[in-house]
Every structure is written in C-alpha cells, then in structure tokens.
Symmetry: C2
C-alpha cells in the first residue's frame, strides 16, 4: 500500500512553498499565473489528492452530508436517498448514511453521536416515521439540519421539504367519490404519528363531502400483513373503494379482492400511492398518487446547501403529488 503524496510533496516538485499550493487548491487568494501553472503540473504528475480529513480538521471545510433514516431499501426511502445523493454529488459532497433502527433513545443517540463525530457539513433526516422523528428532535443546534418529510410541521422549526401527500390523498379520495362511491376505505402505513399525511387527507375529503370516515386499518410495512387486512375489506360488501397507503398495499388489496371474487374495477376501485414501477404492471394497472421522492431528496439537499452557506432562502418547500389514472378505478356499479 504505497503512501499518498501530500501537499508538501507537491510544493517540493513545483518548487514553491506549501501555502502557495494550498492557495492554488482553495482558489480564494490570488496566485501568479506562473506558479499556478507549476503547481498544477506537479499535482497532475504526482496524482495528488487533498486529504479530506486534514482539511476538515483545520478549516472546518466539510465535504460530507449525512442522511439519517429508519430504512434505506423501501421504495420511497431509497428514492429519496437517491435524489439526495445526486444533488450532493453535483455540489461536491459525499453522502454518508446512518440507519436509525428504532425510536428508542439509545439507538437514536448512538446514531446522532456517530454522525456528529464525523464532522459533516449538514444532516438530512427522513422524517417518515417514528425513528426519523425521534432523530429530528435529538439533533443538536450545532449542525445544519434539514427535514425531508411527508407533511409540513409547525412544531419543528427546521428547514423542511415535504411531499404534499395529504393533498394527494384528498384528491384521490374526492376522485373516488366523484365516481359514485358512497365512501372510501383506507389502509394506512405506519407513520410518525403526527397529524397530516395521507390519512388526514383521506379523512378531510370524506368530511368535506359530508361523509363520516369509516374506521381505517393500520398495516405494517410487511405486504403480507396488508394482505390479511385487505381480506377483511374484501369480505365486507359495503367496501367499494379503497385508498391504499402505497402501491404494495394496493397490490395486496387487488389480490385479496380477486380471490374473493370481486372484480377490480368492476366491483371495487383501488388507488395506491407512490407510482412505483410495478404499478403499471399489475393487473389491472394501478391508479395511484405519484410521489416524486427523488425530487424530495434534491429539494432537501438544496435547502441544506442554503443552510450550510448561511444564505437564508425559502425554508419550507413542498413537492406536489399527481393522480395517475389507470385501470384499477371505475364508476360505482349498480
């Protein structure tokens, strides 16, 4: 394992002083064209790479941003991280991910401490669930923090990008009512427990139409659990329209309905959330509320960059959802 060249090596080869090399590197202070040329040649010759650790130590120039999340592989989470990474890379930052498994104080504190000890430029927290929400409150004021979430918040005074999924749920529910359904049932995903979000939107749309929302069901992230719940809906003849927490849950509903002999969209209409790639491939193709998680990630990073640079910009950004009509919804029959 050969050792990497240092700035001193570059200075020696170029025949200039160490600070001069540093000035060429950081670009802030002017250097004569002649020496700059010399230095650049030496850098290329040696294949010199500045040492990020030393740089972070002395100047606080941080080149990493951290993402705190309860999960990194589920569709929405992974897509958001992807958006963050894309924007971060374009801005010259690396992304370090830290999973906060549970909302327990120990887990949260460990994760936060880990992140802080690595002198990151900023932190983006995926406040999609309990662990994420716990992480938001556990982070100190000493580092720029941005929240990526599924709802606005008055309680937390931090820059925030969020998916307007409450509105999306409202629109989807209203759409189902406009098809003649007398009510809309709902299977909710685990969430951070705060108000707002899909369930609130669904409930609001029903109430606006003078309909008392039926009791909604709570699924875990395991689609098989959602499937069990869906079977109970399928067995209930009063159920003619279902708003599912995401596309996987919607697929579970589709399956449960079909097995029960109820046709979709003939007997029952189903709407999902996310517009995952699979949404257009199931049969019937899913009507769904598309959510641009990658955009959420990019916007979150943009907010973080503002915060890092101290350039106060808008500090709450929402990302719109869009109702995509496919084959799983239709007019109420009989």
């Amino acid at each position: 394992m050969g050792k990497a060249p240092t700035i001193a090596d570059v200075a020696r080869v170029a025949g200039v002083s160490v600070p001069t090399v540093s000035r060429v590197l950081t670009g802030a202070i002017p250097v004569s064209a002649k020496r700059r040329e010399l230095v650049e040649r030496a850098i290329a010759e040696l294949g010199y790479q500045p040492n990020a650790a030393a740089r972070a130590l002395v100047s606080g120039t941080r080149s990493m941003v951290a993402v705190l999340a309860a999960n990194t592989s589920r569709y929405g989470y992974a897509k958001t991280v992807e958006g963050i990474e894309e924007a971060a890379r374009a801005a010259g930052y690396m992304v370090v991910i830290t999973v906060v498994e549970t909302a327990e104080q120990d887990a949260v504190r460990t994760a936060v401490a880990m992140v802080l000890s690595h002198s990151v430029a900023g932190v983006i927290v995926l406040d999609f669930d309990e662990p994420g929400h716990a992480a938001v409150t556990a982070l100190p004021q000493t580092v720029p923090v941005v929240v990526a979430a599924a709802a606005p918040s008055r309680a937390v005074k931090l820059p925030r990008a969020y998916l307007a999924d409450q509105r999306g749920a409202r629109e989807a529910t209203s759409y189902l009512l406009s098809l003649g359904h007398e009510t809309v049932h709902h299977i909710a995903l685990p969430s951070s427990g705060r108000r707002g979000g899909r369930t609130a939107g669904w409930s609001a749309a029903l109430q606006a139409a003078g309909i008392r929302p039926p009791k909604h069901l709570h699924t875990t992230w395991d689609p098989l659990h959602a499937y069990e719940l869906a079977k109970s809906l399928a067995a209930d003849p009063s159920v003619t329209a279902v708003l599912a927490g995401n596309d996987e849950v919607a697929a579970a509903v589709l399956r449960a309905m079909t097995e029960q002999g109820r046709s979709v969209p003939g007997d029952v209409s189903v709407i999902g959330f996310d517009d995952q790639p699979i949404a257009s491939l199931v049969t019937p193709a899913l009507t769904t509320v598309a959510q641009d998680f990658a955009e959420l990630g990019r916007q979150s990073f943009a907010l973080l960059e503002n915060s890092i640079n101290g350039s106060a910009g808008q500090d709450t950004v929402s990302v719109r959802t869009q109702l995509v009509l496919r084959g799983s919804t239709g007019p109420r029959r009989n």
Copy 2:
C-alpha cells in the same frame, strides 16, 4: 452553533493530562482505575465526542467504508447497501455511498478520486453492471477493496462475495423443463457483460437437457421496456415457459400474457428473480428465485473487515439462491 468539546477540555475537567484521556479512549494502554473513572465522568459531563477527522489524520484509524454503485434505489442494489450498512454499523463504521453513473472513464475516475480523498477504511464495489465493473478496475491497490457481485470471477483478484444466480437460473430452468416444457425463453437484464450469471445458467440448463437455447431478449431496467418485449413473447405460441431477469420483468410478462389471452400458469409458466415483496402479491403469485441481497451485503462487509484487519480469511463467498414455488408455474398443457 456552540463548539464541540475537545480532548483538552476533557483533560482539564478530569484533572489529568491529554495523553491520559487519549489512552482511556483508545483503550490500548492501561490506565489506573481511578483516572479512568475521572476521565469517563468528564466525558459524560461534557458530552464529548472524539473528532473522527483528527483521529483519521493522525493515526490512520478510519471509521468509514465506501460503497461504489451504479444505482442505489433498485431492489437488489438497495437491499445490498442495507446489508452492508447493517454490518458496518454493528462494527462501528459509517457507510458513504458514491454513485458511478456510467462506465465512462471520467465518471469512474471522479468517483474513485472522491472516495480516496476521504480516507476510507475500505471500499465495497457493487459489480452488478458496467459502471460497477469499471470501478473495480479503476481502484488502486492502496485501499482494501471487496467486490459484491452476481458471479464469481477468475479475472479479478479481489475478495468477492457473490450471489450464485447462475446456479439459481439453472435450477429454475430445469424445474420448468421438468414440468414438461419443451424449452424456456429468457428476458435478460442489463449486466456487466461478463460470462456467468443468470443467462449463463439458463443456457447451461437447456444445453444439459439437449435443447438449443432460443435467442434471449435484452431488456433495460425500465419495466415498460420489458413489457414491450414480453408482448412479443406473448404473441409467439411456441413460448410456454419464461425465465425473467427479475420480478418486475416477470410481472411485465404476466401482464403481457394475460392481455394476449394466455393464462398463467395454464398456458404459460413464468419464473422471476429476487423474491421482491411484490412477488407474492401479483396474480398469480410469482414463482421466483429468491436472492438474499442483504446477506450479500453483510458477507461483503465481513470480507472487507478481514481485509482491513489483515486477517486473511476465505476470500470468496457465495450466497445461495432459493427457488420459491408459487402460482405462476405449472405443467405444460396439451
């Protein structure tokens, strides 16, 4: 933004010297119980967190591992990263992710340089595709590298964990033949272009049965493209069994077949790859070759840890796949 306490603050509060605190922290050199106690109390009182940058700078103690990947959100990729993160966190490492968008030299070099400048303890490359493969060859010998892949390799002399998907494809294909199908068609995902992998396994199984493999189709990662290809298979009456590159492609096949009026599994049998959550929710439920990507990630990290610690262990590990039988496969009819 308050400033973080340093080791000197701890030393002052504890009434000991700076090196003593350092000794307590690293744990290598013995410290009297009394002073250790004093130091630990001071650390707790101040909420002191060692500065990872300073530590990496002086002692080469690296606490980050990098993951190089072409993508982070698709199922297999995201699950592998999740497994890496889980194992890394347990071992006290953070994970930084870097996306290598294309196999172009510039993109690869930039990504590699970025990783190297951050003094990571090691690198895991997801060699699932062209960009990943390019990254493997672009990394210098100066840092421990482990490859996570979908096939073994004789060419690359690096520790490697791989999914035995060639074997999985062989078993799946043989299973279809055992159901009476005269041949098996195949839609392949983009891959790194090297031999091995699913397509090779499929082809081997057919040849072993004395069957000349039909021309296989190449899809992109876009499921809609797979759907177009699937339609051409659906239109061909000689197609009675399909091995799809992954579950999304399989779902596309299911849909295309159904639209064409060919029943699954009555007229056509379909097998997917991965066992994504959705596999059991589509109709019919997918028979699929389950791949434990998270385990692949964990194994990769274990290899990396060996390499970092210099403890030479086994340097090639394979993760077995498993054929999961569900409703999309059945005996050849007529």
